[in-house]
Point group: C2
Chain length 334, copies 2
Amino acid sequence: MKSLSIKDIAVKANVSITTVSFIINGKAKEKSISEAVIEKVEKIIAESGYKPNQIARSLRTGNSNIIGLIIEDISNSFFSRIARLIEDKAYKRGYKIIYSSTENSVDKAKELINMFKSRKVDAYIISPIKGIEEDVKMLLEDGNPVIFFDRNLPDINTSYVGADHLNASYQSIQSFIDQGKKNIALVTTDINVEQIVERYDGYKKALEDNGIKYDENLVLKIHFNQEESETISQIKQLFEQKNIDAVLFATNYLAISGLKVLKQINKKIGDDFAVIAYDDHEAFELHTPGISTVQQPLEEIAENVIKIILKQLSSKTKLENQQVIIPAKLIIRD
Amino acid sequence: MKSLSIKDIAVKANVSITTVSFIINGKAKEKSISEAVIEKVEKIIAESGYKPNQIARSLRTGNSNIIGLIIEDISNSFFSRIARLIEDKAYKRGYKIIYSSTENSVDKAKELINMFKSRKVDAYIISPIKGIEEDVKMLLEDGNPVIFFDRNLPDINTSYVGADHLNASYQSIQSFIDQGKKNIALVTTDINVEQIVERYDGYKKALEDNGIKYDENLVLKIHFNQEESETISQIKQLFEQKNIDAVLFATNYLAISGLKVLKQINKKIGDDFAVIAYDDHEAFELHTPGISTVQQPLEEIAENVIKIILKQLSSKTKLENQQVIIPAKLIIRD
DNA sequence: TTGGATTAGTAAAACGTTTTACTTTATTGC
DNA sequence: GCAATAAAGTAAAACGTTTTACTAATCCAA
């Protein structure tokens, strides 16, 4: 069964295609179509269940009403929760989301940008990685709305929404020091993105400001794409071989691995060993004792992202770029 | 800067649009285009960075190379992990995923189906809810490939992939009974989908087969869309007011709420109180003691879904519907 | 040398919309 | 009673592809 076209409706109503189009698009009044005709056509549309072909519409208008979302990995709860919030808000304004995960591969990210481009998405929401600068620049030159979130690329001049990672990390370390900790480790990843680097910088700066010597042996950089078993054995080594009384995990999945290690080697979190995880996770609240975390303001990030992008979409002219840095919150649990 | 069209390439190469099209689509040989022309055109395409407009392509061919994914909630880890796996496998075959969350609303689900329809997605992967039977039937009548996963709708005759919920639930209860438990509670939701109903049926049947009387006071049905605080207080009531020595949670997020209650009221899981959660979660492995769970075979579900749908997409004729029921695995932890 | 087959390529229709520029009829102001 | 204006509507081009049906030239066999 072929689906109906505007032509079928026009024939049924015995009017022109143009007239039907005007009515569908709410321009009937302004184009002076009579009330009688409007009613007749609307009735036929309702009865027949006709829905305009969005593809044809997109081809003609150049808009797709689709927003492309490029993230690292939809199965990571940080991204899936952001995605959900963004989807929600976009949906209410008539926009759909098409997403893809880059898995931190530059090639895949570039490919995705190209694919979105050829699909003529109306806007790009990207959690970027280094290496796609040129591609993003081209998007911007072509006049596409692009917004970064979570991570930023310093060379690119576009809007950005993210948490204040440096400060959050600094405060975490400061809270360790306030508890009298001296040997503070950092478990982070080796991916070279601003948001991760900032967490590292915050760590370093807090130590410095408190007159504690930075010791690179206490910083463990985990390779991004490796198996969890490998990660676990590396963390185990750190915990067993160094004299550590506190550790900051730069991502929640690293913290999860770390907690598994603690369980394995039967080391308890308590007065002589403190833990903070960056990015909250349900497991942390439930854990005994509760794991302190840096909570990223998901809702606010999503809200700002979509607000900025929708504003840009509804504006004829290019708006000023916005940089929104939202404070993260240190939640102390025990 | 306007993006390039096939026409621009044709002009530059001094050949017809048709010729360029044939070359792009790998039909050059079969349409007897000379090697020299092929090379010339390919060079120009590569140099100019031309990418065919997928929208125009879709309009003409009727295919979008997009698969629509309709789920309950992308931020739920079960769905986001499935989504990731599906995305991955689809991507390798040149298909993109466009997803939306229904939030368990029939209206939203219907709307989504319509939206996907008007976007001419090539196939539908749906975790369905009751109430959309008619809409799905129409899709099927129009010849669209549709596959259900996780949940099934008994009235609809289409392919389905899911776990064996009844059996998994039965076995969980059986394992409680084998441990000598007598007062076994079930915390489930009130959404009326097959997958949830089956878990309930398995609970009931296991009790019956073991000669234990079913007591409806031990079954708590949580309203789907309510606040977590409300859920927690209901579970608390159940735990405090009934004499219970084991509980099966029908979803992982209910189990999380339940564990929070246990922490609050300081009730320990151990010899006199056992817990099993349906659907695994990272928090469960980390928990002390570890929480036993029913693990759904995510990978296998995703693999079967995409295999069936891709097979259907590459076939000219309508293939036989397939029902794939995959056993779930009871993981006992302590 | 003729005429069927092959080679190399192209013109134009079609996909389903939106939108511009136009026509026809009715109404108004003077 | 006539020009100007408004009301009601439409024809056709355009968006960027794919694909069908076609042409023109060359080749080969009998």
